[in-house]
């Protein structure tokens, strides 16, 4: 069976949280729960004087990879609404190739949640 995932470029993610909101809207996820959550690591200083500060959007166990949409040929709602255009949906095989081309990305392969 083909595995699907989300490839997220956290180097250029602005931390706007539109993906969080989009996901909550499409799935009617109540307050205090998330289908994807933007985690915040930083700011903290490295020994070379540079700082680490990454926003890392992370799908949760409520992410179903928007099967209903992708079955119709649409993009997942978070991908569709990402303001910085840093999210991609596709097969792990295709996304892995993209990952090879550009570092500072993360490939998530959530097990689709049953709504």
């Amino acid at each position: 069976m083909t595995a699907y995932g989300l490839l997220i470029d956290y180097e250029f993610c602005t931390g706007c949280q539109s993906c969080e909101v989009a996901c909550k809207e499409i799935h009617n996820i109540p307050v205090g729960q998330w289908g994807i959550r933007v985690l915040d690591d930083g700011p903290w200083e490295c020994s070379d004087g540079k700082f680490n500060w990454n926003k890392i959007p992370t799908p949760t166990r409520l992410c179903d990879l928007c099967v209903e949409r992708t079955d119709k040929g649409q993009q997942p709602f978070c991908v569709h609404h990402c303001l910085a255009g840093v999210m991609q949906w596709g097969t792990v095989e295709d996304l892995a190739k993209e990952l090879e081309e550009k570092p500072n990305q993360v490939l998530f392969v959530p097990k689709p949640y049953q709504y």
């Binding site: 200083e45 004087g49 540079k50 700082f51 500060w53 926003k55």
Partner: protein, 235 residues
């Protein structure tokens, strides 16, 4: 004050407003940090906010030994203090703000929203004085950088009028400046400073806020005296 001294004083006021406006407008670049580090120490003014704010900011600058590191550290603090990076209810203040957003309307209304009457009033004053602020990435005209730039613009107008010997224009301009200081900049300086203290982590930005408040107080004092002198001239 004789003409020469008055022109010098007005020029200095222009420069101070220009510098403050720049410091709030965006993150500092390497050259600006280098200039600040090398700038001569300011004399004490007798204004508590100015002197203690400046001492704090200066202590940060005096400790800078690596410009690139300072640039990153200050850019991060600019983000923490004024922009906010993402929404985190746990880090937000009572009004739900994730940073001390540098817009007057935020502090005058006590709400989280931008715009409204206070912002419109600021724009009205700008337009009535034929002033167009540099907006760049700023969302609204009641951003502190625009309000300070307005004061620079007005002081510059004074300078031109002084040069042309048009004293009535000078006095009229000073009156408008004082009105704007009292009705706007000084009306939110204190709450803005307190908000920045909550979010900023470096002495640079905490000091800058205190120093700015002190500068506004000093300038209002100066303008009040100038306007009072005019009253005496007239009687």
């Amino acid at each position: 004050m004789d003409q020469q001294a008055l022109m010098q004083q007005t020029e200095d006021r222009c420069d101070n407003y220009a510098m403050l406006s720049r410091l709030f407008r965006s993150e500092l670049d390497r050259e600006l940090i280098a200039d600040l580090v090398e700038s001569p120490a300011a004399e004490p003014t007798g204004n508590t906010h100015f002197d203690s704010g400046y001492a704090r900011l200066r202590s940060y600058l005096d400790a800078v030994d690596d410009l690139d590191r300072a640039k990153s550290a200050l850019a991060i603090d600019y983000c923490l203090a004024f922009l906010g990076y993402g929404v985190d209810p746990e880090k937000a203040d009572e009004a739900g703000r994730n940073a001390a957003y540098p817009y007057e309307s935020i502090y005058r209304t006590g709400a989280k929203s931008l715009g409204g009457d206070h912002c419109a009033e600021v724009s009205d004053v700008f337009r009535s004085c034929m002033f167009m602020p540099t907006r760049d990435r700023l969302i609204a005209e009641d951003h502190i950088a625009c309000e300070l730039e307005f004061m620079q613009f007005m002081a510059n107008g004074e300078l031109v009028a002084l040069h042309d010997g048009e004293l009535a224009v000078v006095r009229g301009t000073q009156k408008k400046e004082l009105e704007f200081l009292e009705g706007h900049l000084l009306a939110w300086a204190e709450s803005f400073r307190q908000a920045v203290e909550q979010f900023a982590e470096t002495d640079f930005y905490v000091g800058l806020l205190e120093m700015t408040q002190g500068w506004l107080e000093l300038d209002a004092e100066y303008l009040r005296e100038a306007c009072a002198e005019e009253g005496e001239d007239a009687s």
